[in-house]
């Protein structure tokens, strides 16, 4: 009864190639593995009532968890009470919920906050470049999630769940929207973490493999050395490789003639052509030499400490320009400041401030910002209490993320935490809500974007998630 396992006949090569435009080398072997390739194949996703606010997403992932109360969520009262102990009852826990518990010693922020732009968005002094773009930003101070260890929190951020293997946000977006460019994947992840869920954070799980994120390098590798695997032949020039490929195709064609008809064989032939096209086009996109010096400087390319993240952000823009739907850029595992949160924040902010500001500026200049949603955030925030004297521990109960560009209200500060930044007290936004909202901005209804697997329909937000309409344009 389930279509997932019905073997739709493919009767011609035209049929065979029908949906190859839907993504990265996906040949439409529609029934071959009984897989549905794109959500639109079922007419289940595009909802005429949801306007498309953004066509693509760039997610800037700060691996480790920056301290929300040191960057975007100033807490004067926390500074006043610094050094005193924090009782659980002060952050709204009743005695039956362990309200008497001592949560540790409060530690004020070492940074100075001020308001920026006409909208008066609060930020500390570590983002001098980014703060010039305050009026583009929509800051959400009331994010919350589960998982007080990195692994669980990363998986929840990227896939919505931790205990079960689920498709990642980018894979759902790819499934929902397809790719705008047949030579590029719909989902690219630049320098993804190998640990804390690793490839699962950009995996497709039970969605067709074509929706899995294509990785460029990994977090611990400088982006200069990073590449998409097997995109170039180490020993053969493109010309000679073409000659080799011609021989392959000639053998295949002769074989096809012998057997009469075979969709697998036809698919194989087309597949090689696609691979060849990919290896001709992608390196050109990844090459930054066609960028002007002014653009390179805008991001901070070739300057330290910004060079690495600048290159990642610039690549993200290039892919956005080429029609990639979901692009993630990750830092290395450097935001986990259990000690020296002050020094660590200064160091890490300096690496990303100019690149991110440059990205926003560049996207705007090119007219891309209006339909590109930029999201900045991490797996969780950090405790208002002290750890190891001068650090802060993991804190999934409340943290800040911000967005800019297509779909979100610029210059808005949304949601609030208590006076310590410990728990959301106004307009809490759960990770599932963030996911639902993100899809909504792309014109997708998170309750309708489903995939039938193992006898039932799955979705990114499981049975949860509310769209945060207040932050939408």
């Amino acid at each position: 009864m389930s279509r997932c396992h019905q073997f739709t006949p493919v009767t011609s090569r035209r049929d065979l190639l029908r949906t190859s435009a839907c993504g990265f080398g996906q040949i439409a072997l529609a029934g071959m593995a009984g897989q549905t390739l794109l959500a639109t194949d079922h007419g289940l996703t595009t909802d005429p009532v949801i306007p498309v606010r953004a066509k693509r997403v760039i997610f800037l992932f700060m691996w480790g968890g920056p301290s929300h109360i040191d960057f975007f969520d100033p807490k004067p009262r926390l500074n006043e009470l610094s050094g005193q102990s924090l009782n659980a009852s002060s952050v709204g826990r009743s005695s039956s919920e362990g309200g008497d518990r001592d949560l540790g010693t409060l530690m004020g922020s070492p940074f100075t906050f001020s308001q920026h732009g006409e909208s008066g968005i609060w930020m500390n002094e570590l983002f001098p470049q980014l703060s010039k773009h305050a009026d583009k930003m929509c800051v959400i101070r009331s994010l919350h999630t589960e998982g007080s260890a990195h692994g669980e929190a990363l998986l929840r951020l990227h896939t919505g769940q931790a205990n079960l293997v689920r498709p990642s946000v980018g894979a759902w977006v790819s499934y929902g929207l397809g790719s705008e460019n047949e030579n590029l994947p719909a989902f690219i992840t630049i320098s993804p973490p190998r640990g804390h869920g690793g490839a699962q954070n950009y995996g497709s799980a039970f969605l067709p493999a074509v929706h899995q994120g294509t990785a460029i390098g990994s977090a611990e590798t400088p982006i200069r050395q990073a590449k998409i695997s097997n995109l170039t032949n180490p020993s053969l020039s493109l010309d000679l490789q073409r000659k080799q490929l011609d021989l392959v195709q000639s053998i295949n064609a002769r074989h096809l003639q012998e057997v009469g008809q075979d969709r697998r064989l036809e698919g194989l032939i087309e597949n090689y052509e696609l691979a060849y096209r990919m290896q001709s086009t992608i390196p050109a996109i990844m090459d930054l030499s066609d960028e002007t010096l002014e653009t390179l400087n805008l991001y901070g390319v070739d300057a330290e400490p910004t060079d690495n993240f600048a290159r990642q952000c610039l690549l993200a823009r290039k892919f956005a320009e080429q029609g990639v739907r979901y692009i993630q850029v990750s830092t290395d595992y450097t935001w986990d400041h259990h000690k020296q949160v002050k020094e660590g924040s200064i160091k890490e902010a300096a690496k990303v401030d100019r690149p991110i500001a440059g990205l926003l500026e560049d996207l705007q200049r090119r007219g891309l910002l209006e339909d590109t949603l930029v999201v900045w955030g991490a797996e969780f925030g950090r405790t208002p209490t002290m750890e190891n004297g001068d650090g802060r521990n993991h804190h999934p109960q409340a943290f800040t993320m911000w967005m800019a560009g297509g779909g979100c209200k610029p210059g808005l500060t949304y949601g609030a935490t208590d006076e310590f930044g410990h728990s959301p007290v106004e307009n809490p936004v759960h990770m599932h809500d963030l996911h639902a909202t993100l899809l909504y901005m792309l014109g997708l209804d998170h309750e309708h974007l489903t995939y039938r697997h193992a006898g039932r329909d799955f979705r990114l937000t499981d049975v949860y998630g509310n769209v945060v309409h207040d932050i939408l344009t």
């Binding site: 009864m1 279509r3 293997v165 490839a199 096809l256 697998r264 090689y272 006898g455």
Partner: protein
């Protein structure tokens, strides 16, 4: 009695309203996605805006039209048919809701919102799928899909039915006397009934290649092929099959099929990708079990409860324990708050229920965690009956790792004195901090000694035992003597510190927890919302007798027995599911194509009698997998050619009825192993760990940059299976996802596959190797190049090249020899042959199994 208690619990739940009354989707041929569309967008719309005037149930049939049954709109009203499936513009209903025709506007009070109209149009365009029975809603509502008693009517839960094979017409089959045995008679009966005839027998070369690949995962070498072809005796195929079944390579192929189901991996995955250092023992034992043809029911019992089974020898004990590693090897969230321990236990139980349910019974039991199963007769109470058993099973434990106490996979020492050695090892790591401190104190004592601080020494001695030797304390002795005594002590301390005992032989083994207990139903699946308690037990729909579970045990042993019990347990279904898996692997498609789903949302068998025949044969042979494989591959059905036929294709394009063999693409293991075999570099032997060089984290985090290797010459079944970091070959070519049980690997064609074949270093290495082998094997006299091409083809595709292809390859070689760069001509020639060899590996002749 227990199932009765569960039924009561189930009934209580119905009463308190947690049961969803989803209806059985009656139209088995309908598209489930489309039905989901109907359920999401259309049914609620019809119910809220149309039924008040157009409903058989309410008796309001205005204009003669009712919309609460499928028949209703098909029959239409006074104005004619309401809906033309596939054509929105021609459908009266659509015209009415569009409000474009002033004479026909529905609903009459107010037009529907644009989105609803769009949904209706879309629904009609996709063929107006409508699962509603031709009855009114009221009657349909009575049926509860999850009712385990009514559910027995579903084909998969029925006892096996044996059709006497002589009853299947063979006298009139076309072509005459085609059948060799029962299997063929079932197949040809259906073919003939559909006016089809089977394809002719495959060429012996192609049959041999197919047999070799399906039985041992490798194509035949030219010698093996020649041996077979020159055996002109009648039973040549049988002799070949018996040789292959007896080969140790059989387990490397068929063990891997089980490893797919066991979601085998060498690391945990999920949040903390800890290395499973001992997983290889499980892998190798599975391979061994298939080689020794361990009866499948025994194999299953060992997988589920090997640690609880009686044993006579240490070797038997260990074998059974290692097999039970099946339960430990799944992915688990490890790093959790102490408060979340119960959540973790229930999540692990869930993973096990899902795995056992799908792998052994083809049941999506996991669906019943939060509510009664919406399609299958599995009430939530059955889920928690199983959860009680599996939550009473321990698969994690606390150990010292990375100098911390970590929760990780449960391990047990194996071999004689296994436990003592494991305990000693663990003790060392527990005490390591103290040993370190002691060494530091001895170092400190030396400083004090040299500084002449006798008081300090005495204090140190007073505060810490075992830091100062009596000689060192004795101030009457020479300083040098006292220093020497402490230095000796320091040396000894450092030796202990720096020489941790080697990791003793251990295996991943589960255990029953100290106090096994029943679990409460969790409302909406939430751990902190307990409902009624449920006694431990199994699926009611498959349980016909009592299986008492002793007080102090988890019930795993009883679960293992129930799973394969053909008298009152789930044995018939287990046999069906496994027989179907064997058929699926050998033929390319299951008789039930949804191999992991025998429930109502799965497909029905294309040949139900054949499936029951194979399942019965499996049971009667004493659950011998090899016997079942043997009888299938010796059928004429298996030996059919894969050739295309226009007539048959027009009748049965999916080849459901098996009018020919399914052509298939090589799986990644065969692809790699065949390449290495052809290039003469494959190591056929068995291999232990291929991950022992990795740290405790299997994937890089922070400073740990160690990564799994793939450059082993071994067979692919032994390559590291690191969750979230599979060997690229596996990742790209649809290897089983080791995160979850996999009965049918997906088959995709994505650009990265082409890129891998064209550019991956392992492809280049294999091509270089076969080119070198070619230069040695063919003497460089006149016509050497032609003979080389011929030899290359024999090695890679097992046949000679067609003449024009030979000419083309020679021409390419000639061109490459002038265009490639190199120090010497020998080197250039080698490269040219490598490029051409790679082209042959890339070709469909190599990759597609006919």
């Amino acid at each position: 009695m227990k199932s009765l208690v569960r039924l009561i619990a189930y009934t209580i739940l119905i009463v308190i309203g947690f049961v969803s009354h989803s209806r059985l989707l009656a139209d088995d041929g309908a598209d489930a996605k489309a039905i989901a569309y109907f359920e999401t967008h259309i049914r609620p719309l019809l119910a809220s805006r149309c039924y008040s005037c157009h409903s058989a149930r309410s008796g309001n049939e205005e204009g003669g039209l009712v919309l609460d049954t499928r028949d209703g709109w098909m029959r239409g009203g006074d104005q004619g048919v309401a809906i033309v499936p596939g054509d929105a513009d021609a459908s009266l209903l659509i015209r009415a809701v569009r409000y474009s025709d002033p004479d026909m506007q529905m609903p009459p009070d107010k037009a529907l919102p644009a989105a609803s109209i769009a949904h209706l149009e879309r629904w009609v365009e996709i063929g107006a799928p409508d699962p509603r029975e031709p009855k009114s809603e009221t009657e349909a509502n009575v049926f509860a899909a999850s009712d385990p008693i009514a559910g027995r009517r579903h084909w998969a839960y029925q006892p096996l039915k044996q059709v006497p094979t002589e009853q299947i017409a063979s006298a009139s089959e076309r072509p005459a006397a085609w059948s060799r045995g029962a299997i063929d008679r079932f197949i040809i009966a259906k073919l003939n009934a559909a006016n089809l005839t089977p394809a002719p027998d495959a060429d012996p070369e192609k049959l041999a290649r197919r047999l070799f690949i399906q039985l041992v995962g490798l194509p035949p070498t030219p010698d093996q092929l020649a041996d077979f072809l020159s055996d002109g005796q009648p039973a040549a195929v049988e002799r070949l099959v018996d040789r292959l079944l007896a080969s140790p390579q059989f387990g490397q192929r068929w063990g891997r099929h089980w490893l797919d189901l066991a979601r085998y991996a060498d690391s945990n995955g999920l949040d903390e990708n800890f290395l499973f250092r001992e997983a290889w023992r499980y892998r190798n034992q599975v391979i061994g079990s298939f080689n020794s043809d361990t009866p499948l029911d025994q194999l299953l019992r060992e997988q589920i409860a090997g640690d609880l089974l009686p044993y006579e020898t240490i070797a038997q004990r260990d074998r059974q324990r290692i097999a039970a590693g099946f339960l430990v090897i799944g992915p688990k969230v490890l790093l959790i708050d102490k408060e979340s321990r119960m959540q973790q236990r229930m999540d692990i139980a869930d993973e096990l229920i899902d795995t056992v349910g799908k792998a052994v019974l083809g049941q999506t039991v996991g669906c019943a965690r939060c509510h009664d199963h919406k399609f299958d007769p599995i009430p939530t109470s059955d889920y928690y009956a199983l959860a009680g058993i599996l939550a009473s099973t321990q698969v994690l434990e606390e150990r010292q790792m990375l100098n911390q106490t970590r929760v990780m996979e449960r391990l047990a020492g194996i071999g004689p004195k296994g436990k003592q050695r494991d305990d000693a090892y663990e003790r060392y790591w527990i005490e390591r901090g103290a040993i370190q401190k002691r060494v530091e104190r001895i170092e400190h004592s030396l400083k004090l000694l040299r500084a002449g601080d006798q008081l300090g020494l005495l204090q140190l001695d007073q505060n810490h035992d075992g830091v100062l030797s009596p000689i060192a304390l004795n101030h009457c002795r020479e300083l040098s003597e006292r220093v020497a005594a402490q230095e000796a002590m320091l040396d000894q301390g450092k030796r202990v510190l720096n020489n941790p005992p080697p990791i003793p032989p251990r295996a991943m083994v589960p255990a029953d927890i100290d106090r096994p207990a029943d679990q409460a139903i969790r409302l909406a699946g939430q751990v902190n919302r307990p409902g009624p308690m449920v006694p431990r037990g199994f699926l009611s729909v498959l349980t016909d007798r009592e299986y008492p579970i002793p007080q102090n045990s988890s019930g795993r042993l009883e679960l293992a027995n129930w799973l394969t019990d053909t008298h009152g347990g789930a044995g018939h279904l287990a046999a069906r599911v496994f027989a179907n898996r064997v058929w699926h692997h050998l033929m390319g498609r299951g008789i039930v194509r949804t191999v992991d789903n025998f429930g109502r949302t799965g497909e029905e068998p294309s040949h139900p009698e054949l499936l029951d025949h194979l399942a019965s044969e499996l049971i009667e042979s004493g659950w011998s997998v090899k016997s079942l494989v043997r009888s299938i591959v010796l059928s004429r059905t298996f030996a059919m050619s894969s050739r295309h036929d226009d007539h048959a294709y027009s009748i049965d394009p999916d080849n459901q009825l098996l009018w020919r063999a399914h052509r298939r693409r090589m799986d990644p293991e065969t692809f790699r192993d065949a390449m290495l075999q052809a290039s003469g570099t494959l190591d056929f032997g068995h291999v232990d760990s291929t991950v022992d060089y990795l740290g405790d984290q299997a994937t890089a985090v922070g400073a740990n940059k160690n990564r799994r290797r793939t450059d082993f010459p071994c067979r692919s079944v032994y390559l590291p299976v690191i969750r979230n970091d599979l060997p690229e070959l596996f990742d790209v070519f649809d290897f089983a996802d080791p995160q979850a049980t996999t009965g049918m690997r997906t088959e995709t064609m994505v650009g990265t596959q082409g890129l891998f074949v064209l550019n991956d270093v392992s492809m280049l290495a294999a091509s270089d190797a076969i080119a070198r082998r070619l230069m040695v094997a063919v003497d460089p006299s006149v016509g050497a190049d032609s003979r080389r091409v011929d030899q290359l083809y024999q090695w890679v595709v097992g046949q000679a090249p067609p003449d024009d292809e030979l000419e083309e390859v020679l021409a390419v070689i000639g061109q490459l020899e002038t265009q490639l760069q190199g120090e010497t001509f020998d080197e250039i020639r080698l490269r040219a042959w490598s490029v051409v060899s790679q082209a042959l590996f890339a070709s469909s002749r190599f990759q597609i199994i006919e």
